[in-house]
Symmetry: C2
Subunit: 482 residues, 2 copies
């Protein structure tokens, strides 16, 4: 057993003048005397005071940034500024050296782009220590929220043979050999020879399977990886990302909106309560970053204030039809500043429109409901046509400032005849989804659910601006490093 | 908003003679009078008393097994046996019918094999309600355990370009077209044209990436899906399964064993405390199942007793070398009853040997350590050769009764020169794992970790015997249904 105390605990200790052992990585070493040591347990370092006179030259020269060392010494109250405790070293052991010529993380400011290239080392920076602590706490809060409510966490399949959802381009999963592909008589690929005996892909969503769970267990949620083989090189898209997808039987769209708003507020509040040090650091980081921006592009609120603002205000709820009216009359539409001008009902909303509604018009999170059926998925519940005969579905999107779509959901179409009609119109073969239709044949009931993109949540809470900086090892076109 | 109360809450209610609304699925309908209604919130049903005389024939005939209904009525204390409360229905609404001729889950005993074929409906049985509630609680307990200890949950990548771990056959992830595969001049596949610009696979383990996290954040864990493209049609293997992989800096093998034993005991205890109804049901189920077995194959302990036994006893810890001595001298080895006889040091242990040690010799969970280097992975820490010059590594496997290997782990090789030598011997290219080697170049330190197969844990705790029955939609050769 390796004896050690964690820095996070030492910093809170009030029992002084006792011997402790602490292991960690050297952040800085000043004046051959003061080591700032970090062991990852918190963002803060512990100050180690080296007895310069009684420490060998060989040891001293190996106390370099990035080196792993073991310190035994006396824990004492600190007289220095900026820390309450420090350790007077009596024994120093070098565990692992770090060549100052080669270690890329010297104590200076590094760009996020550079750090992305050394994603295997960027965890050692304060920024990424904070980001991944918050990511952890948000994930834990998600589980706690649903567990407290009696939901069942369902691991829906990652590999699926179903390609009927139409949520986007998919990755093929195969064990077939490109150089010796089994063929049918008509020269098409014989997928019967593939591992699963059929063509298989990575899932784009666990929703359909989650519905199966909800129609028996009542309230379920997924939290797992989902995939899009889309050639999107943006700060908002990943090829591999994590989604949270609750699905609730005996619930309608209003229940669904309430659940989503409660969840978002719960997890943001959890982060505020459990990551004060990390959020204070990231609030400063963002403020520094914004100093380089023109005044007009800076946020009105700093990061902490923005999070608190979300908790203190109800999300604005309105229909797509109401939103279109607002957008039509809006200044950027009138002045033709939108790239895509809003001139008629039925248009899909672009990021610029969502941002206008959230950031300019309402200045808070917005829930848009009842979108035109033509721009939404087959499984969303059809509303009665309005007086003008326009068809909408019981969908909802939650839009967040700086993020855009955070949540997409709907009340599901539980009526077998409506569902079959929609599937027919959208050329979705019924036999491929027989299991989905069975839930409508046997004891169908109103139900609803949504998907929350976890990385977008982490983006919002950390104030980071590129989604590749909030997942440990991002996957995107032409990149699967590490 | 749909007004309803959940059955789990109603059953605990002590406020009677009030009107409530409850929605759920009909389990049985006796004598045109008593409905057993379930909404998935717990295994138990609520009894609904129908006012036969004042209910229309049309409604009565639609109250069939599997139908979804809404009941409004008075909550009253029950005079009947087996329940404390019941609802005297004043209004019944049929939400979704269930044709008795077609609904496959009629109230009778179904085989697990049959239920596997209708995995989209099996959640509606008591057995699978219990299994998936326990699976949920175990997953939650895992997160709670690590969160309480200050670990960071790390989402390691699912799609990886690294194929150097040698943990098993992998699935290819690709967007290339079998019919128009891009080729290099030498006719080999041009993976530069593939989505990630290189050949990519589904991960077999998040360990190597978790190590990167641990060497900065100190204590991390993964909990995500992993994959094996192995043609194993057994009750113990899946092509897609969930793994928990903690990784701890400044820890040796003893710390690692302690962590694993603590984790297993914590989550088993959590299930006992939070799933009493489910475990009582599954204990009976297993006892019934075992009645069909010959006496010699039945367990000494029932399910609950077996779980409690795990909590009450320290896991037996011994080295591989000690285990080989026990096995050599064992009766089944002497009498040549083992399929693979143990005659010399160095042999890989088979399931029969592990079962003998756990189920016959020690009669409790066993931790085997210090396996021969030749049968273990490159990243495990090399021990000093013993007096006979035999090379072992600081590995550990935790073996559980009825399950076999539940956990596999090791102290990791933190010494760059040892690691490079091993990689060379095992033909693992250094340049593919440069990022892994960097953690040994810059501030290396002792660290250790392990992998826990989540489905094997669920198997053990639920007493189910086929791994395909403890994951919602199992993936195995020739099967990716639902």
């Amino acid at each position: 057993m390796i004896k050690r105390e964690k820095v996070v605990n030492i910093l809170q200790s009030t029992v002084f003048n006792r011997e402790i052992t602490v292991l960690g990585w050297v952040k800085t070493f000043r004046n051959n005397q003061f080591i700032a040591l970090n062991d990852g347990s918190c963002m803060s370092n512990i100050q180690i005071v080296v007895d310069f006179a009684n420490t060998s030259e060989d040891i001293l020269k190996k106390i370099t940034t990035g080196a792993a060392i073991s310190i035994t010494g006396q824990l004492v109250e600190s007289l220095g500024k900026g820390q309450s405790v420090e350790v007077k070293a009596t024994a120093i052991e070098i565990l692992g050296e770090s060549d100052a010529e080669k270690f890329p993380l010297q104590p200076k400011k590094h760009s996020l782009e550079f750090l992305r290239e050394i994603a295997h080392l960027r965890f050692r920076t304060q920024t990424f220590n904070a980001v991944f602590k918050i990511r952890h706490k948000l994930a834990f809060a998600v589980h706690q929220f649903f567990n407290d409510k009696g939901f069942v966490y369902l691991h829906t399949p990652i590999i699926t043979a179903s390609d009927a959802e139409g949520a986007g381009e998919m990755f093929r999963v195969t064990t077939l050999d490109f150089d010796a592909t089994p063929r049918n008589e008509d020269n098409s690929i014989n997928y019967k020879e593939d591992f699963f005996g059929r063509s298989a892909n990575l899932t784009v969503s666990g929703q359909l399977e989650a519905e199966l769970g909800a129609m028996a267990l009542g309230e379920v949620y997924t939290f797992g990886p989902t995939f899009r083989a889309e050639n999107s090189n943006t700060t908002r898209h990943l090829a591999e990302f994590w989604m949270i997808e609750p699905e609730v039987a005996f619930a309608d769209l209003e229940d669904n909106m309430n659940l989503a708003e409660d969840l978002l507020k719960y997890v943001i509040k959890y982060a505020i309560n459990h990551c004060p040090e990390e959020l204070a650091f990231l609030t400063n980081r963002l403020a520094e970053e914004e100093k380089n921006k023109p005044q007009a592009e800076r946020s009105d609120l700093d990061l902490m204030a923005k999070l608190q603002f979300c908790l203190d205000n109800n999300f604005e709820r309105l229909t797509y039809t109401e939103a279109i009216e607002i957008l039509k009359r809006s200044k950027p539409n009138q002045k033709k500043q939108f790239k895509y001008l809003i001139d008629e009902w039925g248009a899909d909303l672009q990021s610029e429109h969502e941002r206008y509604l959230v950031e300019k018009h309402f200045k808070k999170p917005v829930i848009l409901t009842d979108y035109p059926a033509d721009i939404k998925s087959f499984y969303m519940r059809m509303n009665e046509p309005d007086e003008q005969g326009r068809k909408t579905v019981r969908a909802m999107d939650i839009l967040f400032p700086g993020i855009g779509e955070m949540v997409g959901g709907s009340q599901r179409e539980e009526r077998l005849d409506y569902l079959k009609t929609r599937m027919g119109e959208m050329h979705i073969p019924e036999d491929e989804l027989y299991w989905y239709l069975d839930t409508r044949k046997f004891g169908t009931a109103p139900h609803a659910g949504f998907g929350l993109g976890f990385e977008r949540l982490v983006l919002f809470v950390t104030g980071m601006t590129n989604i590749r900086d909030v997942i440990p090892f991002p996957r995107f076109p032409k990149n699967a490093e590490f």
